[in-house]
Symmetry: C2
Subunit: 445 residues, 2 copies
C-alpha cells in the first residue's frame, strides 16, 4: 500500500486565526462550551483523522481583550469527548514543569482507560515567567533545567505506567484473589527532581503508555523529542526548512537506536479553503482585516523580548534583536518569527498578518485541490509524515477540510477511507510499549 | 414545606462491601469501566439524588489481592458522566497535600463549566506515608501542617475562582474586544506554602465556586470543615454520636459567623435492602462470609498502627493500643474503629465483619420501610441533614435504594420528587458565593 498520510486536528475555541471569534458565524463563548468540542471531535472522526489535540498552559495569557482566553482543562474535555467518539485519538498538552509525575501519569493512564486506548500526551516545559509565578516561583527556571526535569519526569511516568504487569489482575472470585501482588511493582525512583515510590494507582492501560508527543524545536527540545517522542508537532514556514527539520529529527532518533518510522513528524498548517482561489483569499483577507493591531503588537513584542514601543507598524523589525541564546522561553518560536520577517522583508504590519493566522505555522490558502496538492508535495518530498491541521475558523474550517480536501487525498490513495485500528498507536502505526517490569517478556522494541 | 432530606451516592467499583466484587452479579473489572460509572450516575439521577461522589487517593492501597484496587481519576470520570446526566451534582476527592492550588482550582472550575454548575470538591489532606513517598517525601507531613496547608490552599483556590468578575467577558465583535482586562484580577498570594499570582486561566464558573466538601472528623478536620465546608461526609456508628457530631459542627460554624444551614451534615450509611428482613440479612451474611480474613487483618492492623501478629481473630483488640494523639494519619478513623470494638466487646473477627461493609460507616440492614424508618429517625432527631448513601453492592444496591426506599421517603414528603434547581448548590440549598474581587458587589455571604 502507498505510504499513508496522518492527520491531527489541533482544536481551539473559534479557530486558530486570532480574529476568528469576530466572524458572524462564530460563538465567542465557545471556549467554555463542551458541546462545541464534542461536535468538533465528531467532525474530525468523520474525516478519519488520527487524532484531535488541545494545547494548554497553566496561566492566563493576560490580554483578554484580544481573543477568547483561558478555557476548559483539556484532559477533562477529552474524557468527555471520548463518550461521543469511538476511534479518534485524544491528545492533550500538560506541562512537566508544574505537575508531579504521579498525578500526570495517573491522569493519562486514566484517559487511556476511559477512551479504550486513545490517549496521547503533548509534553511541554512551559516557557513563561507568568506560569512560574503561579507555582511558587519568581522567575522561569532556565531552559536546560526545564528539559532535564521533563526527561526525568518522562522516565518516572513510563515506569509508573509499567508498574502493573498486563496480567496483574486475576479477578478470581472463587479463590477470593482480585490481583496478584507479585505482578504489581514499586518504582522506587530517586532522582534529581523526583522521588517516587509507586506503584501507580491504576492498572496498565490499553496502550501501555499514552502516545508521547513533543513540540519544542530548540536543540534541547529536539533532543527530548528524538529520545521520547512518537509524534512531533512543528511550525515550518518553507518546504526546505521542513525537510531539514524532518531529516534532522529522524537522524537523531536513529542515532539513539530508535526506528525512525516510530517518530511521526507533523508540521502544522493553517488551511484556508474556498470553492475558488478568490473565495479562499477573500476569507483570509477578511480575517486579517479584523486583527486589532494593538493586541498583536504587544504579543509580538513579548515574543521578541522587547518593548512594544520599539516596533512600528510600517517598518521592519529593529536590527538589534537579542540572539536565540539569550532567550530562556520559547526559543524555536522566537527564531521562526525573526527569520520569517527577515527572509521576506516584512513590515511589522505584514508580519502580524502572517502570524495572526497560525502563530507562525504555514498557511495554505486556496481551493481544495490546491490545498491537497500542497499537502501532497510536502508529504512526497521528505518534509512530513502527516500534518497538524489548524483550521483558521472552527467548526467551518474543519468541516471544509474534512468534506473537500480529505476526499481528494483518499482518491489519491494517500489517506485512509476508514479506521483500520482501534487505538491511537494503531492509527499512527506505532507499537505498544513492552513493560520494563514484566519478567516474562523480552524487549521487542 | 417539610424540611427536606439530601442524598449523595458514594460510588466505588462494585460497591462498598469489600466482598462485593465476588458476588456472581459483579463485574470485577468495573473499576476501570467508564460505562459502569455512567450507568450508576444515571440511576442516582433517576432517584433525584443531590449528587454522586468518588473518593480517591494518590497511591495504590498495596494489597491488590483483597478487592478491586486503583481506578480511574475521578474528575475525568465526572467530566464524562456530565455528558449523560443533566442535573445531578458531581463531587470528587482531591488532595491539597500533593497538588498545586492553580491546577486544582482550574480543574474544578473546568468541571463546573463542563457540567453546567454541578461540580463539588471533597477536600482531603491524605493520611499515609505511602502517598507522601509518591511525592518526593520520605514520611507523612504532620497532621497540623497538612491542615494548615489545606486552609491556605482553599484560600488561594477561592481567590482564583473569583479572579474573573462574572461580567468580565464582553464578546464585543464590532469593537474587537473579547474581554475586559479591568475585570480580570491578579491574586498575588504569597503565603507559607504557596506563591500564586493568578488570574486563573478560565472564567468564573456557573456556581462561582464548586461546592466544598470535607470529611475529616479530627479536631483539625472539624475546624477546617466549620470554616470552609458546605457539606460534610462523616462516619457515625450510633445515633448519639451522630447527634453530638452534628451539633458540634453546626456550633463551630455558627461561632465563625456562618449560617449553620449552609453546612450540610451527611453521615455515611450502608443500606442492605431485601424484600423481607430475612432476605436483607441473608445478603449481608453472604457478603460477610466472602471476606478473606488475611487481607482484612492486615488492613485493620494498619489502621491501628500495630503489627498484624498482635491480632487474633477470636479475641478482642489488644488492651495497649496507641492513643489518638500518637496517630499522624487518619485520626478520626482510628478512634471510630477502636471505640466500636470496645463499646460492643467485639472479637477481631466480628470487628472485621462490621468494618467490611462500610469501613466504619453505619450499616442499615432491612426492608425498604425499615431502612426508610432508620433514615427518618436520624433525620428527625438532629443527627443529619441527609445521608451519604454507600451501597454495599453496585449497581444493585443503588437500584434497590432508588426504587424501593426513595419512593417511601417521597411519600412521606421528606424527599423531592423532581429537581427544582439546576446546580449542585441549588440542590443543597446553598448560595452562590459572591466574588471578593468584584468592586460592584457587596458581601451578602
Amino acid at each position: 500500500m502507498t505510504r499513508q498520510l496522518h492527520f491531527n486536528a489541533f482544536l481551539m475555541s473559534t479557530g486558530h486565526h486570532e480574529s476568528s471569534w469576530r466572524l458572524p458565524e462564530s460563538d465567542p463563548r465557545a471556549n467554555t462550551d463542551i458541546g462545541h468540542f464534542r461536535r468538533l471531535a465528531q467532525i474530525a472522526e468523520r474525516g478519519t483523522f488520527d487524532s484531535i489535540f488541545f494545547a494548554d498552559s497553566p496561566q492566563l495569557f493576560q490580554d483578554v481583550g484580544r481573543r477568547p482566553a483561558g478555557g476548559l482543562e483539556p484532559i477533562q474535555v477529552l474524557a468527555s469527548v471520548a463518550g461521543v467518539t469511538s476511534r479518534i485519538g485524544l491528545i492533550a498538552t500538560a506541562t512537566t514543569s508544574y505537575n508531579e509525575p504521579f498525578n500526570l501519569a495517573r491522569a493519562f493512564a486514566s484517559l487511556d482507560h476511559i477512551s479504550g486506548g486513545r490517549a496521547g500526551w503533548n509534553v511541554v516545559t512551559t516557557a513563561t515567567a507568568e506560569a512560574a509565578q503561579n507555582f511558587n516561583l519568581d522567575t522561569l527556571p532556565n531552559h536546560r533545567d526545564r528539559y532535564d526535569r521533563a526527561a526525568e519526569f518522562l522516565q518516572v511516568a513510563q515506569q509508573l505506567w509499567d508498574s502493573w504487569d498486563d496480567d496483574a489482575i486475576l479477578a478470581d472470585k472463587d479463590a477470593g484473589a482480585w490481583g496478584d501482588n507479585d505482578k504489581v511493582n514499586t518504582v522506587d525512583h530517586k532522582g534529581r527532581f523526583f522521588g517516587v515510590r509507586g506503584p501507580l494507582n491504576v492498572e496498565r492501560s490499553p496502550q501501555g503508555h499514552p502516545l508521547i508527543v513533543q513540540a519544542g524545536s530548540s536543540e534541547d527540545g529536539k533532543d527530548l523529542a528524538a529520545k521520547y517522542a512518537e509524534a512531533v508537532f512543528t511550525a515550518q514556514q518553507t518546504l526546505a526548512d521542513a525537510q531539514a527539520f524532518y531529516s534532522d529529527l529522524k537522524s537523531r532518533a536513529k542515532a539513539l537506536g530508535r526506528n525512525p518510522d516510530h517518530i511521526m513528524i507533523l508540521p502544522g498548517i493553517v488551511p484556508i479553503i474556498g470553492e475558488t482561489q478568490a473565495q479562499a483569499q477573500a476569507l483570509e483577507s477578511e480575517l486579517d482585516r479584523l486583527i486589532v493591531p494593538k493586541y498583536a503588537l504587544k504579543e509580538l513584542a513579548k515574543t521578541l523580548k522587547i518593548d512594544p514601543s520599539e516596533l512600528s507598524l510600517d517598518e521592519q523589525l529593529p536590527a538589534n534583536l537579542p540572539s536565540e541564546d539569550q532567550i530562556e522561553g520559547a526559543k524555536s518560536r522566537y527564531s521562526l518569527v525573526v527569520s520569517l520577517a527577515r527572509r521576506e522583508n516584512l513590515t511589522v504590519r505584514e508580519l502580524i498578518g502572517r502570524l495572526g493566522g497560525g502563530r507562525g505555522h504555514r498557511t495554505f490558502t486556496g481551493t481544495p485541490v490546491q490545498v491537497a496538492d500542497a499537502i501532497t508535495e510536502w508529504f512526497d518530498s521528505g518534509a512530513a509524515d502527516g500534518f497538524n491541521i489548524m483550521p483558521a475558523v472552527l467548526p467551518s474550517g474543519l468541516e471544509a477540510f474534512v468534506d473537500t480536501v480529505v476526499p481528494i487525498l483518499r482518491e489519491r490513495g494517500l489517506f485512509r477511507t476508514d479506521y483500520t485500528g482501534s487505538t491511537l498507536r494503531e492509527h499512527y502505526g506505532l507499537p505498544r510499549p513492552t513493560n520494563v517490569f514484566d519478567k516474562t517478556l523480552q524487549e521487542v522494541g
